[in-house]
Symmetry: C2
Subunit: 686 residues, 2 copies
Amino acid sequence: RMIKQVLIGFLCGAAILTVGILIGHYGITQSSSTMLKYPTCYLIKLFFILTFLHRELTKMPHMATTAGDEQTVQIMLKRWQDPKTGLDHAWREEYSVYLSFPDPKNPNKVTVGESAGFCVTFHRQSKKVYTSDQADPEVVQPYAAYSPAGHPKGKLVYANQGTPSDYQLLNNTVDLRGTIAITRYGGAGRGAKAINAAPYGVVGVLVYTDPLDINDGLMSDNETYPHSWYLPPSGVERGSFKSHYGDMLTPYLAAKEETYRIPVENITGIPPIPIQPIGFEDAYRLICDVKMDIYNYEEVKNSSNVMGVIRGSAEPDRYVIYGNHRDSWVHGAIDPSSGTSVMLELTRVLGTMVKQGQWRPRRSIIFGSWGAEEFGLIGSTEYTEQYFTKLSERTVAYINVDIAVFANATLRASAMPSVQNVIFTAAKQVNAPGLDSTSVYDNWIHYSNRSSTTHGTIPRVGYLSGAGSDYAAFVHYLGITSMDLAYTYDRSKTNARIYPVYHTAYDTFDYASKFIDPGFFSHQAVARTAGNVLIRLADSLVLPINCSDYAESLEDYLNTAVNLYQHQLKDWNISMEPLKRAVASFRSAATHLDQVILTIHSSCRPLKVRRINDQLMLLDRAFLNPLAFPDKRAYRNGWPTFPGLADAYANAESSGQASDWDKVHYHLSVLTQAIEGAAHTLTDVI
Amino acid sequence: RMIKQVLIGFLCGAAILTVGILIGHYGITQSSSTMLKYPTCYLIKLFFILTFLHRELTKMPHMATTAGDEQTVQIMLKRWQDPKTGLDHAWREEYSVYLSFPDPKNPNKVTVGESAGFCVTFHRQSKKVYTSDQADPEVVQPYAAYSPAGHPKGKLVYANQGTPSDYQLLNNTVDLRGTIAITRYGGAGRGAKAINAAPYGVVGVLVYTDPLDINDGLMSDNETYPHSWYLPPSGVERGSFKSHYGDMLTPYLAAKEETYRIPVENITGIPPIPIQPIGFEDAYRLICDVKMDIYNYEEVKNSSNVMGVIRGSAEPDRYVIYGNHRDSWVHGAIDPSSGTSVMLELTRVLGTMVKQGQWRPRRSIIFGSWGAEEFGLIGSTEYTEQYFTKLSERTVAYINVDIAVFANATLRASAMPSVQNVIFTAAKQVNAPGLDSTSVYDNWIHYSNRSSTTHGTIPRVGYLSGAGSDYAAFVHYLGITSMDLAYTYDRSKTNARIYPVYHTAYDTFDYASKFIDPGFFSHQAVARTAGNVLIRLADSLVLPINCSDYAESLEDYLNTAVNLYQHQLKDWNISMEPLKRAVASFRSAATHLDQVILTIHSSCRPLKVRRINDQLMLLDRAFLNPLAFPDKRAYRNGWPTFPGLADAYANAESSGQASDWDKVHYHLSVLTQAIEGAAHTLTDVI
């Protein structure tokens, strides 16, 4: 019988950690109370390497499928295959995916003219150079990926954020046919600004970054980067302008070379008219008539995920996945290299312990360095499509750390309610950057908190809504318990929609190390917090997934829904009682399972532990049943109330039609049975 | 550490069985070589009780939701809750389901007249009475469930089996508008005969049972029941005439009382015009003009499943489900009471051992007595909808024994290829009825065999195609490894489409005990075989699910597909190589897993065993991904070649259009990725 003791203190800052783990022949793990002090020498190493890694990753632009991207693939592979500090196994997974690029020979142009005859070319072919980074010939010119090529011209109209109501309102007073709309970022998805415009006869759309949204109003050259963290007047936010995530030619299938591809004309969710992003300097000089010359083209190119694994000792068939994308729009110092350097530092530390035979987690850990995220979460989505069954069956949780540090004020977490607690536990064991005696947790609760009926005041954990990063396919397609972690802003100090140079050529090592995280202390805090969560999920005997916290969230959503809807639903003879009963069943099943878990720690019955862990692991799958829940995945999409129900209610209220109230009733049944189904998985197994 | 020894010999006839099972504290099971002789006294008991149970179940008609149905619910509950011979727990699950009935006050009528003026009422209000059974006032009049009410009249035309091509052909020479079509059973689904007819303007459809299809041509009163097993001239086959299985008002949702129901006008897959089954005596007297008076009505009624469980000792969260429907059309002696009496006898024997503390299986066993199967597999489908997540995650296999005995010549099995082997093993341990020294297996191979590349000559196991019984939702909706077992005909002696009195008022205890299985010996053989399979699935340390047999089937399908399609696909530049590679990956993963399993028997690592068992249990789930495979579930539907591909190929070949060849390419990719995905679940877990 082998006994191993594992130090995981290295992830816990100066905090004292009380975890010791015995892994026996029968896969039994018991907790001991060995007190381990964090070795300070490690902290220094960690700091050194993080900065070094970040510098290495951001030396050149690494847009998906370019030479710079390949260079980062090689960096990852070299480190993960290192015999002393690497993982058990690392490899490349390649997909052939449909991307969109500007034409280097015919730069996109936006020109303006006084009513007739176009005269001045405003749009810059490259942004202003402040550091040598921006002069790199590999910097891609600003463009809207997946905008069609075209040469529209027309009168310029200001369409605010390009939402459906923005265009509707505008259309009341202006004939939009033949116009070019200028919109600011925010409010609607990037591609949606063009999709919403086309029905009104708009022929082209420009998108600019509004200084009020991103720069707290500052606009002048000497107030912005390199003098501050604010976006220079010539900076342009790039981005993917498609609505659906994953490769567009192979929906629900992995985009392998031989995979069938749908005809390009069958693609949905992309701009039907040309669209182009511009900087605010140019936006404010645009007047009257505008001509756009967009030369974008599409191409199927090979994009790689880099994968690495640490094999689990007792339960190799249970996976904790930790991932981040690797590709950037330009140098991507913050997006995504802040997250990539954190991941590489984590794998170096864990890999070293594995290679030295000091430690091996109970469950397997899979690291994913996703490709082509910027084009619409493509690498991670193709991965989930290729390994759909295996991942659905075996994945305990997915941890996403994309932009690790937006700013250095506080932790920010979005997650399923069931993993709120493990994030809290980890955050309590890590020092807040620059605050020796305050934990990440205590700092966090100060910036953002809420009142829980069970726990009192606790940090506010957000919803994993939409498809903002690579967690999307794990959450919406596979139904896997997920979280997204980062350090972020002090909202009392800035209203910036996101860090100002997001998706521009100014997102460089220089910028990151001067204005975002000097000293990389917040990077360290994220690495320690996320690493702590990762180890707890991979190595705890009983999974740190809490179904009672899930119940509390469902109760919150239920109360909101009852307050908002019950009165009017009664008028339509639709009862909310079945939903209330379902939530009550879930609560009572969760309470019971918690009781069972309390008794398990002292037992050493591996199959009983496994059974309970399977219940916890698969809890989120109960909210996925694509045939029963075709529109929305029950409540999952992350609204503060059940989204399928909320949508249906809003529709019915505005139309007033009986058939729409019928749909509300349908969504109530779907939701009720999803929650009942989840409760059935938590009650005694037979 | 508790050690239990279990006799399972009672299921194995006079054969000698070498199974002893140790269930240890760690859930470890090891085989010992205790030799147990089958106790002969048990055989007599078994026989006595089977006949008795059968008699009890068939005393009165028990159509779904009638008083007779409720009586069978009480019989099941009483036996399954018996403190000495019952199960651990038994209960009723009730659903409110949409059914269709004839109007007792306005019997359906078919009348004929000489061109003008209707004169003679031919259609019998009740069939001829040969035994008191047929005189029971609870015998439902013959009708087509889910036929609309209506009073069409028109010229009678003979439309063969009512297939699309039958009507198409007929339409070349006859103007079908305003006619009433007479069709014979077979060839097309019941409801399809009316669905296919309606587009041609046919106003009503009659269906009769052709003596050539069912009676080997015999027609006269003194050659048929009660003189033989053949259908009397006045016998009428009832049935459900809807196309989709499950409750029609609650697709993909359990039909609980409060569940939302779609508007009746949105129902699809039911006859758009009145349809009525008749006996052949009447069919042959129908000439010229016909008038139908159909008074069917629909009603939402409460239908019950009766559920019972034996809790597993080591892995209670793994389920083997054994089921059969309980409802009949009339007395249902063969359909379904032959299967129900087999199930009750099995539960009595197993329950007694459990209650006496002699035995408890490693995994949980769930018994399901489904309601309203005759109306379209409603009870079993609602059950899978209600417990979708739990059942998907935990069910090892589903065993269906509906009509246990069609005739007493040979075993018949339809199953996923992975459980062929456990059926063979069981069949080798049971004596064939009436043949002391021949096993069920040896008898079977004599009647129906095929040549396997791995095993040489073996019995032929059929495909679980379509939705012929309650396995449908388990196979097509949940993706659970399933089988359907029965004793059946000597095909050299009869061409009857099915046993002749199927779904008529002559399907009685008298009929069953005189003409189908005098002495109930075939019932016993089925009980022993199915029970043996059940115990092996529930109690073996390593699941008796064989992935190499799965590989062999895939190779067979692949070879067929390559022979049929490869040549022409090349012309369209579509390669079959990726499919070949996928099947090869599957084979190699299966071979490897078999090797791993060989090493496990001598080990006692519960989590390693569980890991492998999870791989085996979930193998069939890999072929289910409703978003990726929206039309057909990969190859599962059970054709001798991949059905999605075969359909697409047939379409493309007949249309010749490039877009249809595109769809062939799409289906190749779907199939390839389904098989690759399955292979990924069999390879080393990390």
